[in-house]
Symmetry: C2
């Protein structure tokens, strides 16, 4: 199957032409200054048309368009349910209509972390497994789930999708989601500066010299021997491990795939989470495998084909039942 994929991130939109397990070609658009999705759509449309044409194909040879977006979406209605500061107009845009008008193709929309899980399932770390949890550690924390080969979605498309928002510190920090002490509020890219700011003695740490601090700097200073950096890093590792246990207890996976920007320090993070999970997750049936994601930024685009196949087989099933 051939498909077009759009990965709508916070600062970039990546458009890709995908065939089964392979990205044939892709083009990345800078959307950092774009305030609305509506403003970006014409550029995306141009890029997709170029990808098809430049690769000697016609739209008739494409099965559909899959959009991954960092929002809660209702994949059944292709509607965005809640945004997080970016693309606030997304909920008002009829993307299905846009796709029919510009491409005469069916379009499906899904949360970008769910798309990435589908990609890892098709062509990456989760290949061959039917029950998968994927954590994404970055600016936020993603936690998405596949059970028995199907994405878990639930009543309002929110099940198995916001696993970074399990409270791991019941009287902790307020989270951007409205929660308290969510893993994301305690140990993510956006919450790290606030955590450091409140850390006792932070002024004496090597971390004090950075105006803009992220996990890269934290892990580097911890490795260089700064005590506070080490304490903060170890606290983050414990929080991610606790969130991993919560995800395993919630969804009973065979494998936990961990991805995201922070995994540049995978050599520290992976063994820490794995050893915690193997000691503390309640899995009388055996041990959950813990693996690093393999596809990086390509994961969501590679989720395009499984997402569209899933929708098509769903429609075939409905049609065959109504006959």
């Amino acid at each position: 199957m051939r498909a077009l994929g759009i990965d709508l991130g916070g600062t970039h939109a990546t458009c890709g032409l995908v065939e089964d397990r392979r990205i044939i070609a892709h083009e990345t658009l800078d959307t950092n200054r774009a305030k609305s999705l509506r403003a970006v759509l014409p550029n995306i449309s141009d890029a997709l048309h170029r990808l098809v044409k430049d690769n000697g194909l016609s739209l008739q040879e494409i099965s559909g368009i899959a959009v991954g977006i960092a929002c809660l979406v209702d994949s059944r209605t292709t509607r965005v349910l809640a945004t997080h500061g970016k693309y606030d107009d997304a909920g008002d845009i009829d993307l299905g209509g846009w796709s029919r008008e510009k491409f005469d193709l069916p379009l499906r929309i899904e949360n970008d972390a769910r798309m990435a899980l589908l990609g890892e399932y098709l062509a990456g770390a989760a290949r061959g497994f039917s029950d998968v949890v994927m954590m994404t550690l970055g600016t936020g924390i993603g936690g998405v789930t596949m059970i028995e080969g199907k994405l878990l979605r639930g009543k309002h498309s929110q099940a198995g999708c916001i696993g970074g928002h399990f409270p791991v510190l019941f009287s902790g920090r307020p989270c951007s989601c409205g929660g308290i002490g969510c893993a994301e509020a305690e140990a993510s890219g956006w919450s790290l500066p606030a955590v450091l700011n409140d850390w006792p003695g932070i002024a004496s740490s090597a971390l004090a010299k950075y105006s803009n601090i992220g996990f890269k700097e934290l892990f580097a200073e911890a490795a260089a021997g700064d005590t506070i950096a080490r304490d903060v890093r170890d606290r983050c590792l414990k929080i991610w491990a606790a969130d991993a246990v919560a995800l395993i207890h919630a969804y009973d996976p065979e494998i936990l795939v961990i991805g995201g920007g922070i995994m540049k320090s995978a050599e520290v993070i992976l063994p820490a989470i794995e050893s915690h999970v193997h000691r503390h997750a309640w899995t009388p049936w055996g041990k959950v495998q813990v693996r690093a994601a393999e596809l990086g930024n390509n994961a969501a685009l590679l989720g395009a084909v499984p997402l569209l196949s899933e929708c098509m087989s769903e429609e075939t099933r409905k049609v065959s039942q109504s006959h």
Copy 2:
């Protein structure tokens, strides 16, 4: 549909004859001193035969036997996966064979908290809802889930079933499950004495006079104005509320049903959890209803009919697919 139900608790086994939404008759056996399930089975068998006969029925008029047990079970193989100190021989007993030999009836086994959810779904607080989370607050904390009208089970029958074991305090107390800082390790009947024992100034509290302390005493002393009792009670309420948020974020339910022995203090617990959930759970689609369980100790027995129907429709589906 008519069924026999067995609710195997820690100190009692309740046997019931159930017809649709109604318990026709039941008999409770004291199993407090029984060390093994094998030792109890003859009494259970006698009780079930009596229930059928005394109500003017024959075994041919019964559809099957449903067993609820406080263990992890593999409902697909009717096998007990992990016990918790009680009935340690359960994993070695072929209950399906026992049922065929003694009754010539099919038997299904399920975690008792899942059975209780099925009961509340059929005839109690969750009637009319398809997406339900049920918390049980008692000696332990149960957290079970139904999504789109089906119990969530997952790869090893453990998904949607151990919601009392989400870590809500990432560096908290060791839990009986092997985890750290699980809701159950921080605020349940079995962990309360240890929490109190470590509480600063506990010797000066009215709670110090009890040799055997439970939530009944804690809530009474808190209501009577004891400061430490109030602080411990409020900490428990926060933990249960955080666990409720985790369950909602994990499973996306329409309704949260709360049951268990501690709900004798429902007038304090229910508003506290409801107001926390309505303020802090991320549910852009609307508000999760929070309700007290209605069926009490009858819930698991009333789950017998839906459990057996579920299995039968599953078998019908498999048969029709293989033709």
